[in-house]
């Protein structure tokens, strides 16, 4: 009874409906309030001064002139953000990223900030701050950063994961290894071995809403923060720790979010806004420009990857290995480790070994980006899988099916899989009409697979029943993909009422227990689970109330079709009581009716996808258009199919942009050359075909409805799927992402030349 998380096959009334989202009307009419839409009486405009250098010692910051400018209410530097981290280096890294401490570590690193009565004065004040820099050697390329004579980005970084412990600091913060079996023996067994190296460039999530917040510190030491974020509870905890505020005294309210994709799981500037507000004793609104968003928030890693696969003539892979070098920006992280974990997760391998290298460079701190680290690893592995299929003369789909992981397979990163979707998605690829559509000249078809772990985590949910029988569902996970609609469907399902009777909202941090970020595709999985249990909790309360209304033992009451029913012959004359009737009588039967649940949602089911893609390449210009695209992915259970399909399409769209044109371009001086949407080329609508989707439902055994996260896996296969399609279209294999027109034309020229 109670919180049994195991899957039960059931017929759904509400779940699976394509209902309208509760936030839809406000969003399409412009009424929805995003990060920059808050206002507080007396608010000031905050602006941040950023380093123009890739790497420089900050010898002096003179703020005296800026402070004297009329209208300027506060100027802050790192001196106003003292170290309260108690030796926690991870927290210190967040603080140092918010505001440079003696050294600017990348182009765009914050060095000072102002708050003034208007933007004009704030801009003038920035110009009056005099920073004396001493330029230092910099490094922005991942392979160059690993060379022995590379400039060291952080002198406290000693490579972890190696014995003996290094005596000198370096840019390699960690080396991690995964796998099992004996790869040397496996390669010795192979009839064919394919080895290839790949590079991928750095990309940004490209969320349309820039980072924005309104900070309001009171002179009594309490404060409020309105912010666009994927996790306001985590932002509260981080800001409280960094600024010495009691957690209960900082209330964080999350705005509607204009896209995050992982980029809004990190604290970038909120402590600066709070400290400006504290110093000025006025509310401060801080909104990044697009230039700042590109330079100082969010990008994912650029990478350099070597892949080696060995197979028997019959297509059995005997061994697979990979070396994956990921740059994490100027602060240590473990994105390379995650790449090494995901690389071969789709396959059942006897001998496998991956090594991940985490590398520091003079670029912005790397953030999570939708299935972070997996797309690059998949680009290397899935490109090599196609090369191997070609060498073996096997169909690429059959080759993958032969080696696909299944229930009971020991994953390359350790665990043993339960029921999983890689095999079924591959079988669905084989059956899909897309695979049989005719191609014209210069067109080619490619496919690739992808994996993502998914995550559960801490979750806390309230469900309150109004006197009129409508239901307020209060959750603490940010709605980035339509989760309020999905969670309302779940609540309605459990209570046996219609979707329209439920209204879901995201609570502020003062109204609910801690919730982890909306990350790892956990929103619908974990809050869905908490919603089920909160609803069941409320049902128990309502059964008690019905028993009271009938004056019968509660044991004789069951919940059916949205109401209480008395069981047993003794009560056969009692008509059922609806939820609405029970709610109406609640003031007389014990007061308000509520359900609650807090949980750590474990065992988020892993997710797999297979994508099919057709491209057309112009051999004279290298221009590539994706002309048809199909996503096939396991959703466990699609609660709201529209939003599941939306996630499939969104991830594919971002992957297509990444594959073809998006990239951070750094100059020789280490400064970012294209911090804007004109020259950082995200696809526009006309660049994309209609992205077709097919939802498979292989239930997650660890969720009552079988839900798996669906938000991230869809970005994993596109890089390789497009690379494989280009190869099939014009016969050249691109080993460098993005496959921009100059790179494709060059490859075609090299092919023609020799």
């Amino acid at each position: 009874m109670g919180n049994d998380t195991s899957y039960t096959d059931q017929k759904f009334e509400q779940v699976g409906r394509r209902v309208r989202r509760p936030d839809g009307v406000d969003k399409v009419t412009g009424r929805a309030k995003y990060g920059a839409d808050a206002y507080a009486p007396g608010q000031l405009v905050g602006l941040i001064l950023r380093s123009p250098h890739a790497h420089a010692r900050i010898k002096k910051i003179d703020i005296s002139k800026a402070e004297k400018l009329p209208g300027v209410k506060a100027v802050v530097t790192c001196e106003d953000l003292p170290d309260l981290t108690g030796g926690n280096r991870g927290m210190m890294d967040i603080l140092e990223n918010c505001m440079a401490r003696g050294r600017a570590l990348y182009d765009g690193h914050a060095v000072a900030a102002v708050a003034a009565v208007d933007k004009t004065i704030a801009k003038q004040a920035l110009k009056l701050i005099k920073v004396t820099y001493e330029k230092l050697p910099h490094v922005t390329d991942v392979d160059e950063a690993m060379e022995a004579d590379a400039p060291v980005v952080q002198d406290f970084v000693f490579t972890s994961g190696v014995e003996p412990k290094p005596t000198k600091p370096s840019n390699v913060s960690g080396i991690s290894q995964f796998g099992h079996g004996d790869v040397d023996a496996g390669f010795a067994e192979a009839d064919v071995i394919v080895e290839k190296s790949y590079k991928t460039e750095q990309t940004h999530q490209g969320y349309i809403e820039p980072h924005a917040c309104l900070a309001n510190m009171s002179s009594d030491g309490s404060g409020e923060l309105w912010v666009t974020t994927q996790g306001h509870f985590v932002f509260r905890n981080v800001c409280s720790t960094l600024l010495g505020i009691d957690i209960a005294k900082l209330k964080v309210t999350a705005s509607e979010i204009g896209g995050g994709f992982g980029g809004k799981t990190h604290v970038w500037m909120e402590p600066v806004a709070l400290v400006l507000s504290r110093k000025a004793n006025r509310p401060v609104k801080l909104v990044m420009t697009r230039d700042e968003v590109f330079k100082a928030s969010g990008p994912t890693c650029s990478t350099s990857i070597d892949v080696k696969i060995g197979a028997k003539k019959d297509g059995t892979i005997t061994a697979a290995s990979a070396s994956l070098r990921y740059q994490n920006g100027a602060f240590p992280a473990n994105w390379g480790m995650i790449g090494a974990m995901t690389a071969y997760a789709c396959y059942d391998l006897k001998n496998v070994k991956t090594v991940g290298y985490d590398v520091l460079v003079n670029r912005p701190k790397v953030a999570a980006y939708r299935a972070p680290s997996a797309p690059m690893a998949a680009f290397g592995v899935e490109s090599t899988m196609d090369l191997m299929a070609g060498k073996l003369g096997m169909d690429p789909v059959e080759f993958r099916i032969k080696n696909a992981a299944k229930e009971g397979t020991r994953a390359s990163y350790g665990p043993v899989y339960g029921p999983i979707g890689i095999g079924p998605t591959l079988e669905a690829v084989k059956k899909h009409p897309h695979m049989r559509a005719k191609l014209k000249k210069n067109q080619g078809r490619g496919m690739a697979c992808g994996f993502w772990f998914n995550f559960g985590g801490q979750t806390c949910t309230d469900l309150n029943i109004g006197i009129d029988g409508t239901v307020s569902l209060t959750v603490g996970t940010i709605d980035v993909g339509g989760s309020r609609a999905s969670l309302s469907l779940i609540a309605a399902e459990e209570l046996g009422i219609d979707y329209e009777q439920v209204k879901a909202s995201v609570a502020d941090t003062a109204s609910l227990g801690h919730n982890d970020m909306t990350e790892g595709s956990r929103g619908t999985f974990s809050s869905g689970m908490a919603t089920i249990f909160a609803a069941r909790n409320a049902v128990e309360v309502m059964k008690g109330r019905a028993a009271k209304m009938w004056d019968i033992p509660v044991e004789d009451v069951v919940w059916e079709n949205g109401g209480a029913k008395a069981t047993g012959k003794a009560h056969s004359n009692l008509p059922p009581l609806t939820l609405k009737e029970i709610a109406a009588k609640s003031p007389q039967t014990g007061g308000p009716i509520a359900g609650h649940n807090e949980t750590v949602a474990d065992n988020a089911g892993v997710s797999f996808a297979s994508h099919i893609c057709d491209v057309e390449v112009d051999p004279e210009t290298g221009s590539t258009r994706v002309i048809r695209y199909t996503v096939i992915q396991d959703a466990g259970k699609a609660i709201h199919p529209d939003y599941v399909e939306g996630q499939f399409q969104g991830g594919a769209a971002q992957g297509i942009g990444w594959a073809l044109n998006e990239e951070y371009i750094y100059g020789k001086d280490g400064t970012l050359q294209n911090p804007g949407f004109l020259d950082y080329r995200i696809p526009v609508c006309s660049d994309l075909p209609f992205i077709d989707t097919e939802i498979l439902e292989i239930p997650n055994p660890n969720h009552p409805y079988g839900v798996r996260g669906v938000g991230e896996t869809s970005i994993v296969p596109p890089l390789a799927a497009i690379g494989n399609a280009v190869s099939n279209a014009v016969g050249v294999r691109l080993n460098h992402i993005p496959m921009s027109p100059p790179r494709i034309l060059k490859a075609l020229d090299e092919q023609a030349g020799g």
Binding site: D291, S623, N661, N674, D679, P683, S686, D687, S740, P742
Partner: protein, 285 residues
Amino acid sequence: MRYEAPKTTKEAATFLKKEKGAAFILAGGTDLLVKMKLGLSEPDLVVDIKKIPAMNAISHSATGSKIGGAVSGAELGEHKGLCKTWPGVVEATNLIGSDQIQSRATMVGNLCNASPAADSVPAMIAAGAKAIVVGSTKRRTVPIEKIVTGPGQTSLADDEVIEAITLPKRGKKAGDAYLRFIPRTEMDIAVVSAGVNLTLERGVVKTARICLGAVAPTAILVPAAAKAIIGTKLDDEALEKLAAACSAACNPIDDKRGTIEYRVRVAGVLAKRAAKIAFQRAGGV
């Protein structure tokens, strides 16, 4: 910052002459306002030319057509006569930005912004268009290729305003075309571009003007490319010579938008493709 909206071009020129600080002309504002927002431009005076009747007119005479300096790309695109006589010029202008930008952006603004990658400029130069330049004391007519002198630089004096663009009268066997390469399908800036304008006589190219964009500090006329196709029926050999002449004329840079190697190569490809379209439009077979 002061804002003026004069009623005549001469009045606009006089405002510019009198201003001691930084003065800018506002037509569609699609470049100026962006620069102001980014803090790259801080004008003391903005002279809005949209209230000047001559700036808003499209007129025709025995010698050709005249397009006012404040005529938007959208208006140009809706002008049936110009779409028929100078489709290349209209298409080039209509490629700039989005629909929203088109409702504001002007050819003259595109010219005076003096970007090497401006879309309308190679098409105008190929067409043999001229600018009617009005100063505080005199007027002059200047070929378009003499206006831009380098990135962000023009030959206009501080008190000069372009009132209109003229396009020559069109014969029957004539056609023009403009193509640009962008990695996306729209909302982008030319990596390379080519404008071709030609006339035919008995199926053979009689005259031709070929202009390339984004491959040098300014748009460049390539007489050698024109020579390669004059007297031909645009056979493959002529097209290859055209492409080679275009590639040879390029003097591009490596930057975030493209490499030298790529621009040189694709300039020839685009010139060939644009020449074929222009040839077809002129009635060539």
